[in-house]
């Protein structure tokens, strides 16, 4: 998220964007990461219970991630244009749950949205909060394609380090101590 931890609520549903899958892209991804016959061979896929070629679930999820990153960049730009400083998001420690609900076929346009389910301050990373977000994907028939529950870090705007941490940080910034720390 491009909001500061303090500004994030659990009401807003963020429409991240959409993406249209092509047969070439479905096959190209699957050849690298998921070469099962119903993801790479349109003829053989007719024998599967899907009745034809479908995208790897991991392809759909990777596209959903890309759509989210693009949304974040666009949102950052919008905030800067309004004279605001965008928040900082950190790495993700993991995915609690991912449910694949409906297959994606060539030509399908999938839309993705995100809602923060809950947030708390991180115990392990001072100055950061931990978010649990729900990312959902839907097809043009409004069927749920996947639903995921993802953890991620988000920086606190109002974080004041404790005196001990401030001293350590200040020391780490001084060239003499930086040299010592490197050793």
């Amino acid at each position: 998220m491009t909001l500061w931890f303090e500004d994030i609520d659990s009401e807003t549903v963020w429409p991240l964007g959409e993406y249209t899958f092509t047969e070439d892209e479905i096959i190209h991804f699957a050849k690298q990461y998921d070469p099962q016959y119903f993801h790479v061979d349109p003829e053989a896929a007719k024998h599967s219970h899907f009745g034809g070629l479908i995208a790897s679930g991991w392809h759909t999820v990777s596209v959903g991630h890309k759509v989210m990153v693009d949304f974040m960049y666009a949102h950052d730009d919008m905030q800067r244009a309004n004279g605001e400083e965008p928040g900082v998001s950190g790495p993700s420690p993991g995915v609690n749950k991912m449910e694949f609900k409906a297959p994606v076929r060539s030509g399908d346009t999938i839309r993705f949205d995100l809602k923060v389910k809950n947030k708390r301050k991180s115990n392990s990373l001072p100055g950061w909060g931990l978010l649990t977000s729900i990312i959902s994907a839907y097809n043009e028939q409004d069927e749920l394609v996947y639903r995921s529950e993802i953890a991620s870090f988000s920086k606190l705007r109002d974080y004041k380090p404790k005196l001990k941490e401030r001293v350590l940080l200040a020391m780490a910034a001084m060239p003499v101590f930086r040299k010592l720390l490197r050793k």
Binding site: Y33, H47, S48, H49, S62, D70, M98, F100
Partner: protein
């Protein structure tokens, strides 16, 4: 209506809980990381080595989704393309424990954690796979539990719990 693609592969009845699948090895190059990141995870610390060195990751590391993709690929090669697979239902508890860095080699094992027939779809067996992915120094990189479907050879067979 037997499926000519999968009829001679292992079916649900042939699998056992506790079966361990040893995965192959996948070396990760700088080009691998950057080409995936450009397509799916274009964050500066996956694209630019200098930015990456100053980031929390401490160097150029793959997108977590790429690590997951390589792990799945290795399970497809060693197992899923040798069974009558019917796709996946999803996964639980994916944990990225350590970034996979440039020039690391990914490997690991997958264990069949549980097997049960679907009551609503008697043709389908539900298989849970526990992944334990490691780097070349045997350090944990990623764990997850994947739930996939494998075709039942004889859907008319009674359910084990019913037969008991």
């Amino acid at each position: 209506m037997s499926n000519p693609i999968t009829k001679d592969r292992r079916h649900f009845e042939d699998l056992t809980v506790g079966e361990v699948i040893k995965l192959g090895e996948r070396h990760l190059s700088k080009d691998d990381i950057i080409s995936f990141a450009k397509q799916f995870d274009p964050l500066p610390f996956h694209l630019d080595e200098d930015v990456a060195k100053k980031s929390l990751l401490g160097g150029l590391a793959s997108s977590g989704w790429q690590t997951a993709g390589f792990s799945l690929r290795m399970l497809v090669d060693e197992f899923l393309n040798k069974v009558a697979g019917m796709g996946g239902l999803g996964f639980d508890n994916l944990k990225w424990k350590r970034p996979l860095m440039k020039n690391d080699t990914l490997t690991g094992t997958v264990t069949i954690a549980s097997l049960r027939r679907s009551h609503s779809h008697p043709r389908m067996g539900i298989v849970v796979f526990d992944f334990d992915m490691r780097n070349q120094n045997n350090q944990e990189v990623m764990t997850l539990s994947l739930t996939n479907l494998v075709e039942v050879r004889d859907p008319s067979a009674p359910f084990e719990e019913d037969a008991a």
